[in-house]
């Protein structure tokens, strides 16, 4: 039985195809102007790479901010539901999940069964969301995916005084003009990001194991800065790409549905 999950985010869109509880194909693309187009494209690529056609997918669940505009899904579920489920599948011991999206930051607490028991999010302010890092990477003229590892080569990280993305951007430009090494600026950016995230996490009260999902989980600079701030080790996702958590959760719900079980 083949099912799929499609997570249409503001920055990237993800698709996961599962067969008998295993991921057989996945795809991540940059989101297009229209959520419907992003969903069509990412699913088309995933299906074709798996050597399948859309007819082979017995059930498909959509999630993410663009979930209501996906034409091909059987059902749309909230990001919270899918991210919690996906995180728990990736790391069964997960009790606290921090998910950084392109324009939000979510923290949730799960019980042993993976049910969400507490939730908080920031989607009002760009600081602490993926957008903060995206803006900063652009200012530094580095790839977003390279920003994380730059922390490791920094000798004296800068301190970003402003939480606001707009003011921090001005600070970063000033540091660049003053000839501060880019690695030191990048390290300061990653630490500032972690500091904002820690506010949300402390707000909800965390319990071990703590897991990070979303694209920012791949930024080692942010992850280790957050570990320092929280005083614990964040469980690394190795089973699959942490950015796929939402799509995985969606696919798992699709599996429940196609089996006739309840989601």
């Amino acid at each position: 039985m083949i099912v799929a999950g499609c997570d249409v985010g503001s920055l990237t869109s993800k698709a996961v195809i599962m067969k008998d509880g295993k991921i057989i194909e996945s795809m991540i693309i940059k989101s297009k102007a229209k959520p419907g187009d992003s969903a069509d494209e990412v699913m088309r690529q995933a299906v074709s790479r798996a050597g399948l056609t859309m007819e082979d997918i017995s059930y498909c669940v959509g999630t993410g901010y663009g979930r209501d505009r996906i034409s091909f899904v059987n059902e749309a579920l909230t990001e919270i539901a899918c991210h919690g489920r996906g995180a728990q599948w990736l790391i069964p011991s997960a009790r606290t999940v921090i998910d950084i999206g392109g324009q939000d930051c979510k923290a949730m607490r799960l019980d042993e069964k993976g049910n969400m028991v507490k939730f908080t999010a920031n989607d009002k302010c760009a600081s602490g969301t993926g957008r903060f890092l995206e803006v900063m990477a652009r200012v530094l003229h580095v790839e977003l995916s390279d920003l994380g590892q730059m922390s490791s080569t920094s000798k004296s990280p800068i301190n970003l005084a402003s939480a606001c993305t707009v003011w921090a951007q001005a600070d970063v430009i000033q540091h660049l003009n003053n000839g501060v090494p880019v690695a030191d600026i990048a390290a300061g950016i990653n630490s500032a990001m972690a500091a904002r995230m820690s506010i949300i996490v402390n707000n909800i009260g965390f319990e071990r194991d703590v897991v990070m999902t979303g694209g920012v989980a791949k930024n080692s600079g942010v992850v280790s800065a957050l570990e320092k701030l929280l005083g614990l080790r964040i469980k690394r996702v190795t089973k699959s790409d942490p950015q796929l958590a939402g799509a995985i959760g969606a696919a798992l719900y699709a599996q429940d549905k196609s089996k006739g079980g309840n989601a």
Binding site: K124, A126, R131, F132, C164, V166
Partner: protein, 272 residues
């Protein structure tokens, strides 16, 4: 006795020269690389206009975010103090001052002498500051000075759903792509900034007449939006942008006379 006030802001520098409780000359210039450079340039402009030299200035007070880096001033005062003083001098009935600057927004309660009784400011978040207007103007390739005229042509009400400048910029670009009219967008932008500034002002008790100062007050669209957001009679003063520098020049006079020049001696109030 001639005194001067110099207000070095993040975007512009302002200078005012006063004699006998009257403005002799004033100048506004765009900020240079260093606050010192900005201050010197704007002060030179004002002095030239007044046909004076620096030696003619009995006392000069500096204010604004760059005030600590200006070498020629005799003393410095906080922006809050200067804005309060300037506002009550310009409009004696004023008890609440809302100043929207390039990098911050302030709300100040003042007494009849122009002394500060309470204040609050936001410099943590760019939303609700002049920077919001600047970023959107830049994105839409519109001159900051044209925003007021453009918003006056608005015919349809739009509300921005994002408060964060970064998210709002994306939202505005989407609105443009979806065919929304620029005047309607600018009007929505003014409302967004005004709502933030009004929320700040309302967090301290708003009493008496309210005045809007700072360069942003010259934007007529912003003025109207703030008036609506506050729901009170917003007073328009003649010189909103140089208000802080006026306050500084008055404080300079106080330093020499050892007292306050009476705020009530000046009545120049232009109701909106």
């Amino acid at each position: 006795m001639i005194t001067a006030g110099c207000d070095v802001g993040s975007l512009t520098a302002k200078a005012v020269i006063m004699q006998n409780n009257e403005i002799m000359a004033s100048a506004v210039s765009l900020a240079k690389r260093s606050p010192e450079e900005s201050a010197r340039e704007v002060m030179d402009m004002a002095i030239k206009t007044a046909a004076l030299t620096m030696k003619d200035l009995a006392y000069c007070v500096g204010t604004g975010y760059g005030r600590k880096h200006v070498s020629f001033v005799n003393s410095i005062e906080s922006e809050i103090t200067c804005h309060a003083r300037g506002a009550v001098w310009q409009a004696p009935t004023v008890r609440t001052v809302i100043d929207i600057g390039g990098q911050d927004a302030k709300a100040i309660s003042v007494d009849e002498s122009g002394a500060v009784t309470r204040f609050i400011y936001n410099d943590k978040c760019a939303s609700g500051t002049g920077r919001f207007l600047e970023i959107i103007a830049e994105a839409l390739e519109i001159r900051l000075d044209d925003l007021g005229d453009i918003s006056s042509k608005s015919t349809k009400r739009i509300t921005l759903s994002n408060q964060c400048v970064v998210f709002a910029e994306t939202e505005i670009i989407s609105l443009v792509n979806d065919g929304a009219e620029i005047p309607d967008i600018i009007h929505a932008l003014h409302n967004a900034v005004a709502n933030r500034a009004a929320a700040l002002a309302k967090s301290i008790a708003v009493g008496g007449d309210v005045v809007m100062t700072g360069g942003v007050a010259r934007n007529t669209g912003m003025f109207e939006s703030l008036k609506n957001a506050m729901g009170v009679n917003l007073i328009r003063v003649k010189n909103p942008q140089i208000n802080g520098a006026i306050g500084a020049a008055l404080m300079a006079m106080d330093s020499l006379t050892g007292g306050e020049t009476t705020a009530a001696s000046r009545k120049e109030e232009v109701p909106a």
